[in-house]
Symmetry: C2
Subunit: 551 residues, 2 copies
């Protein structure tokens, strides 16, 4: 190894000196099951400046919409921040379908996390690894490097946290359908999109080979999309454009044999959109020759056949060349395990409160596709609300008393506002008057039972947020801002009144602002459902859509 030393000698001469690296102290610590390397990135601060209180450790899991937006908006000088993700880049997911057809280059839709970190001053640490276990009791996470296998030992390490931000998204949901993992493409990562692109081209090359009969060529050129949601529909539309505009010119001898099918379990595609959009999309697809088959549930995907059942009929089997599976999201194993630990069993995603805090789990936040906010119901807190409003402890509420806490109620329980809107009422007092009948406003007094009756139906307006990039990005932004003002808000809270305890919440709860939902339908046609029941279908809609994300 004399030679080796000689070889390495040049390194320090060759490249500039930077002492940064020495700051990382690596300690070995015993943990359940064996030796695990342990990175304590804070120990240097402890030695250097024992007078100043050490910064709180924030660990961010994931570099998708939620994690990256959080990271970008966080004031990283306030915390000791570490990011863990198997992907060292952020992906602009709305353009993934465009990569499958070569409209856009992969490089154009990714942003390296280390570049974001550098822009923020470089203090943040990034580990390209996957968190495979969260231990909320000891406030540690277990990570494993995802890069190659020739890493010393098992490539595992532990990280401490004071605050944990879980934003690892979801995986494709196969509904445990046999053969899906083995035979289908997914459309979640850049690699998926690139694989789909290669696979489409391969199908055309394969169908052009000399040793096949026409049925076999037809099979190879049958492209099936399972799932009629926005991703599946956009991919089908992009594929149709790609095939008719580009591939037919290059493979004229097989163009009669190409077929694109969309299989949807529901009665229509794009059911989350307005009916007018669904109708427009279905008609456009029919004109384009894309077959939309609804009411079909896929029960098995074999090597060359996909089997499905219709409501009342027996099984049907269809030969295919390529299947893209796009039926919504499933739970990652680490979230499953974590939910079991904290007693959130039989759930698909982590439940958080309106401040994105995981229930019963100090210092842990969850956002994006791996979490959902369980909005507190008015009726659960109705006695507490009554008590808070009833300042003079008279046992009844006057209109004045109600109006005094009205803002806090509306902030804490957004369903109240939604309910009023649905009833075309301008004020909670209208609701009360409605329940009390023909009485003078000033003289109204409500007891607890009357108050309950007045608000009995507001919780019907509680809705889960969709698993979209828009929601994730807004949550990341919201949470970063909370972290940035954490100290200020501890001293002067800005949130609504606590109903079951005294004082105020530190922050206002997260509130989603819907900018509309978009569905590109091919041929430069995009349908959009905008806030306030507006519908837009046409050429320019797409640019509107990008601008929503760009903002």
């Amino acid at each position: 190894m004399r030679f080796s030393a000689f070889f390495f000698d040049g390194a320090s001469r060759a490249f500039h000196h930077r002492p940064t690296f020495s700051k990382l102290v690596v300690i070995l610590a015993a943990s359940g099951g064996g030796l695990v390397a342990y990175a304590d990135s804070k120990s240097d601060h402890a030695i250097e400046s024992s007078r100043v209180a050490p910064k709180k450790k924030v660990v961010v899991l994931g570099t998708g919409w939620a994690g990256t937006t959080f990271l970008k908006n966080l004031d990283s000088s306030l915390y000791d921040v570490q990011v863990v993700s198997p992907r060292n880049y952020f992906t602009f997911t709305p353009l993934l379908p465009s990569i499958t057809c070569g409209t856009v280059e992969p490089r154009s839709i990714v942003e390296p996390i280390r570049r974001i970190i550098k822009k923020k001053g470089g203090e943040i640490k990034f580990w390209e690894a996957e968190c495979f276990k969260i231990d909320p009791t000891s406030k540690k996470i277990h990570c494993r490097s995802d890069i190659g296998t020739n890493l010393d030992g098992n490539g595992e390490f532990l990280l401490d946290y004071d605050y944990l931000v879980i934003a690892i998204g979801a995986r494709a949901n196969t509904f445990n359908t046999p053969g899906v993992v083995e035979h289908c493409h997914f459309l979640k990562e850049v690699e998926d999109a690139q694989k789909i692109r290669r696979s489409v081209m391969d199908c055309f090359e394969r169908a052009s080979l000399p040793n096949l009969d026409a049925e076999e060529r037809k099979r190879i050129l049958h492209f099936v999309i399972v799932g009629g949601g926005p991703s599946g529909i956009e991919f089908a539309a992009e594929l149709h454009d790609f095939v008719t505009e580009d591939l037919f010119k290059l493979y004229p001898m097989v163009q009669d044999l190409v077929k694109i099918s969309v299989i949807e379990a529901g009665e229509h595609i794009l059911t989350m959109f307005d009916k007018r959009i669904t109708k427009f999309a279905e008609e456009k697809f029919q004109r384009d020759g894309i077959e939309v088959k609804t009411g079909l549930r896929v029960v098995e995907v074999a090597d060359k056949n996909i089997t499905m059942t219709h409501k009342s009929t027996e099984k049907m089997s269809v030969p295919y060349g390529m299947v893209v599976w796009s039926t919504g999201i499933g739970t990652r194993p680490v979230i499953m395990d974590f939910m079991k630990q904290i007693g959130q069993v039989n759930r698909r995603v982590l439940a958080t409160d309106e401040w994105l805090r995981v229930h019963e789990c100090n210092g842990v936040y969850a956002l994006g596709d791996c979490a959902t906010i369980s909005q507190r119901k008015v009726m659960e807190d109705i006695s507490a609300i009554f008590k808070v409003a009833d300042k003079d402890n008279s046992g009844t509420l006057t209109v004045k008393e109600i109006q005094d806490v009205l803002d806090d109620i509306c902030i804490r329980y957004p369903q109240v506002e939604l309910y009023l809107k649905s009833k075309q009422m301008s004020d909670i007092v209208d609701l009360i008057m409605d329940s009390k009948g023909d009485v003078e406003k000033e003289s109204v007094e409500l007891d607890i039972e009357e108050f309950k009756r007045a608000l009995a139906n507001v919780d019907s307006q509680v809705k889960n947020l969709p698993a979209t990039a828009q929601v994730a990005a807004q949550q990341g932004n919201y949470l970063a801002k909370c972290f940035n003002k954490m100290k200020d808000c501890e001293e002067s809270p800005e949130g609504p009144l606590r109903m079951r305890e005294s004082g105020r919440h530190h922050f206002r709860p997260f509130r989603y602002k819907h900018f509309g939902q978009f569905a590109p339908l091919g041929g430069e046609q995009t349908a959009a459902q905008l806030p306030g029941d507006w519908i837009s279908i046409g050429h320019s809609t797409q640019w509107l859509w990008y601008s929503v994300y760009a903002s």
Copy 2:
């Protein structure tokens, strides 16, 4: 399968009708070992127009520089052309090293073969498959589809040819060194370059993980290039620029640990260039901190160590993170098998004559990296040349007689001209006068022995052409032009006099025109060796280099 029929019903409605496909007749034929599908792409012509002589079938193997240049320049209306290659695109190989470092996008350096075919009118057929056996006796080739595995049967088929153009290039030469295939990267295809890029990034991510000691990080960040030829040196230079200009900014904590080494078995790098270029490159690399280790032969590549021997010393082992193997070209198995069949044993590449025809193999041409021209020696033909020149059968040659056949000799044996140039003579007569001593030019008469003596040393100038893109492209262009004028030249040959038979050769033999050789050395520095012993080193040289290829 009722449902399936229903599913496929839409296809003909959905996409335009094109009858082209039906022209392809697929026949099953028994062949040695089992059933093999058999594509007779000519049968339709035979039926449609039995009066007209059917076009000759040209099969082109390979879509590299030689095959693609041939295809682009061929008048494809004259032949029934089929192209077989596992890659349905041409790669601009000089830019492969730029892909490894992300300077250039893969898409920018590839050209789909089907697009080239379309530009030429679409008559040419392309099969994405690999030829695994050439049968020159029955004039058939055996092909196997390379796409996926879910092709019916074994995916094999047979093609007939009248003319076979072999242009399948070479593979990386490992010299059977243990561990090279398993652990090293190569740099021949776009996929190789993309893998290298990912691997470089992975090394930096892996070296940044928390659970490693400094030695391990150093190992991971040791990039080794084996082979000091133009490809290896260019890659080393590109990697250095990528690392210092981009990656150091993103991974400041590990930059002291990075090392790039070039290992060369010879005494210098870039030995095919002028010594001034070699010296410049070695000095530039030293300044850049790239370690150049010469006189070292790699004997084994293990998981994390590369072992080599120096002339007089024992084995040395060096830890590494990534190795790129770039030590020249090796023979593809199908060429090896073909050479065995035609008696070209113990050769590295196919031997052809000066018209790129494979020796003793009717209708088979070979060009590019899989072939080399064995230039006919003057001394082998000296009696025949004498006989042709001695028109009056006097047994002696006058200067006039020699001058009459001089052009033909120089065309047939380019070494004569090279020899004269090396001796700074303007004419073969000078050579003769030189050998005859002080005699009047007009009165010179040479007998066969004197003629032999005069030309005794010219064959020392016979040189093999290098395995470069320039040579391959010129050969492809040359051969296409020969094919385009094959009919004309049969009637009025344009080649030199045949020495051992009567008449003229149909075509002039292939003659390589050297436009210079280029070696990008990083930091926008490129060294160039131009024809006529000119050397250029500097910034603008690179554009000169691209322009050579662009032409």
